[in-house]
């Protein structure tokens, strides 16, 4: 018999948007956002294992797995237990897909009809998994081809090389899919053990959006086999080593290149931001670097006016639980001047203009509200926000009350010896 079904937590995100949160006894967190006006149901199950998972501690033991294991699992998981979930779902006109990022693997389904059936089958599938050797060998061949596709993009290569300088730990930069050697090293035993360690209820997040009654969907989730997954007390903990290389600035001449490409990276010292909560810290770092370096910044305009960058200018801000970094890159004809200008800008950060800062806050609020315009966008955003530790119901308030002074705290995390650069110069 089912226990009496009640929605445990109800959070008002916007005036007309409510999020329902349920936590199963085995630790699975379930987030339900009804979108009555839409036709699409989106289900995503996020597992905390990604490209950075190569070394971890679990139940007091250290484990090492080949790079690309999480991605390999993503490839084979829909074909576990002697069924092909993709084929079955196509009978219900449901689309199924998956992706692996540096920190998580995400499995998602979209459907319009047969939602109850699709949801139950999807969740039951994750309650246990046995991958056949035939599936493993088939996907190994396909993954090896996938890896080669990404090797042909110079921009990926420069960024990977830059991160290799910034962090000796391969968890930070190793290709999410691994390399030929590591993919060949993945075997049945590694796959089974990794599933056992990581594919646990308390290491997953389930997000469902669509035109449903949350009470009913909560009941469906609790009736599915995912609710029968055992409760485990431990979760695997990743192990990092954040040393950088001795050489900070690398200049390489590439004979086959048609352009010169420059990338600069800053390892952000998170220990300087202990007074901020995880979500405040993330928000402050992102707002800081966007304010000073995105395409609406005066620094960008200066670099453009000096002809040091072109349309390929790009910034990336990565804030993880244990480390954070900022990169800026562009094609350039003057890599040395660009490097010196960027270093100067970073070490002599200007002041924050209050009006422009206010505009940035308004822009952020507008973007956040925009997520709720599409069932898939809000599903994706919810998964991301939950993963990053934001309290959604407080997000707009946090943004509104963010002060220029809070954001300015990030200045003190910038240290010259934490700046690295990589130049791929054309001959």
């Amino acid at each position: 018999m089912l226990k009496k079904v009640m929605i445990v937590v109800k959070k008002q995100i916007l005036l007309d948007e409510t999020l329902y949160i349920d936590t199963l006894d085995n630790g699975l967190n379930v987030y339900l956002l009804p979108k009555k006006e839409f036709v699409d149901y989106h289900i995503s199950l996020q597992v905390r294992i990604g490209g950075q998972t190569t070394r971890y501690r679990y139940q007091d033991q250290l484990y090492t797995i080949p790079a690309g294991t999480a991605h390999f699992l993503e490839h084979v998981f829909f074909e576990s237990n002697d069924i092909n979930l993709s084929d079955i779902f196509s009978e219900y006109n449901a689309d199924i897909n998956a992706s692996t990022s540096r920190d998580v693997t995400n499995y998602y389904v979209s459907a319009q009809d047969h939602f109850e059936m699709v949801l139950s089958m999807f969740l039951n599938h994750f309650s246990k998994a046995k991958i056949s050797q035939v599936t493993i060998e088939k996907e190994r061949q396909i993954i090896l081809k996938e890896i080669k596709m990404y090797e042909d993009n110079m921009y990926y290569r420069v960024h990977e090389d830059l991160l290799k300088q910034m962090y000796t730990d391969q968890n930070v930069w190793v290709d999410i899919a691994g390399d030929e050697r590591s993919v060949h090293a993945i075997n049945q035993a590694i796959i089974d053990r990794t599933i056992d360690h990581f594919y646990q209820a308390n290491n997953m997040i389930l997000v469902i959006t669509g035109p449903f009654d949350p009470t009913y969907v909560k009941k469906l989730v609790r009736e599915s086999k995912i609710n029968l997954m055992p409760k485990k007390m431990d979760s695997p903990q990743l192990i990092f080593d954040f040393q950088g290389q001795k050489d900070h600035h690398i200049y390489q001449v590439k004979p086959n290149q048609s352009v010169t490409y420059f990338a600069l990276g800053l390892d952000i010292d998170l220990s300087m931001l202990q007074t901020l909560s995880v979500s405040q810290r993330r928000l402050a770092i992102i707002m800081f670097f966007q304010y000073f370096f995105d395409e609406g910044s005066s620094n960008y305009q200066t670099l453009k006016d000096k002809n040091l960058i072109n349309y390929s200018y790009n910034i990336n801000i990565h804030v993880h639980q244990d480390y954070a970094y900022f990169t800026v890159s562009s094609e350039t004809n003057y890599p040395k001047k660009l490097k010196s200008s960027l270093m100067d800008m970073l070490m002599n950060i200007g002041h924050i203009d209050e009006d422009k800062f206010l505009a940035g806050i308004r822009g952020r609020i507008g973007h956040f509200i925009g997520y709720f315009d599409q069932s898939n966008a809000i599903n994706h955003a919810l998964s991301e926000f939950v993963k990053k530790g934001y309290q959604l119901e407080k997000y707009i308030d946090h943004v509104k009350h963010m002060k220029a002074a809070d954001v300015n705290m990030i200045k003190k995390t910038i240290k010259e010896d934490a700046i690295y650069s990589m130049t791929y110069a054309k001959k």
Partner: protein, 423 residues
Amino acid sequence: MKKTFVHGIEVNHLPSKDYKHMMIVFSYYSKLDPKTYNERNMIPTLLENHNRIYDSSDVLNTHLDMLYGASFNTSVFQRGHLFSNQFYLKFINQKYIDGEDLLSSAFEFLYHIIYQPKIYGGKITKKAVKQKISETKELLNTLKQDKATLAYFNFLKHVSDKETATFYPNERYLDQVTQSSLTDVYQQMINEDYLKIYILGEYNVDKVHQKIKNLFPKKRPQTWPNYDLNRYMPYPETVRDLKETDMDVSIARTYVGYQLELELDDRTNVAIDLLNRIIGGYSQSKLFTSIREDLHLVYYIYSSYLSEINLFMIHFESDEEDIDTAIQKIHETIHSMQSGQILETELQRAQLNLIKNYKSMCHHLIGTMKLNMSADVTMNEGFNLEEKIQMIMSMTQEDLMAIAKKMKHIMTYRYVKEGDDCG
């Protein structure tokens, strides 16, 4: 969708309470001209970057942020002999914001971007033109560093006729872009093109009309140009099998092109869409199943129909030694479909998948806008989901076989590693 005319300008209304954002589009329609194709493609970003009101990216982005993260985009649309420059602004629904007239601000922003460029001596400034040409040349260099994009660009070049090619940048005419040519094309766009405004969201129609009257105080004389929406581009006369090499690639990239000599109407487009799905348009397609799942030759393979140039295309990335096997399988698949091997279950699955796709788009701000704009241009009416579903469900295996029979192989293009010739 309801049409009104304000001072000669066609205004298309898409009232909707489904979204937290609204969208306004200014769309300018003209006759496709390969000789000015580069200018037409350069103008939107030129206007964005060289504006009298928003004279730096800093000012422009701050203004968009002040409109609660409004997003401004431009695109081009082409179908047969018709070309369009389109300017989109997405901004938050007025009802979430107290005391600010966001709708008026949104109209003014678009108007300022399009009608207030930096002009000197009656022409777009030399600096703007020089920068735009230089950026375009840099773009051609950038392409060379992303081998996947480069292979696709090369395929398009080979499959197109040099004189009439309509993809950007068109190298054939790049040296003919000048301050005068850009200024002339810009003047044509704002003075002679047919202007349609589309607005989607919750708003007061009278207020919108008043705003347009204020921005365009003079009547704009314009008549809808009934350009042929069918094929524009001539195909190569003989089948070509091309191979290009590169020292710096890890995987081979192959494109197989088919011409589709058809008079395009709504029903034909639906049939092509279904046929595409069955061939290689999604993960249940014949090619994905056979070449990836059964033969394991590729990470992915897909087909798509490029409506802009009436070209059906199949693309995959593989080891070079596997190309011929994959190509043979592709030809076998197409031949079998031409002789009627399209299963009822394959058709049904594709129909349901296509309907799902349309339903999703109809519950998506940009999707709704694009579907209505496309239906408006091709049929002079708004998009009707029920009619589309009926049309999709009325398609038979014979309808699809008839389209498959019109597919004529015109090109195979391989982009492979230098020195890896398998003989």
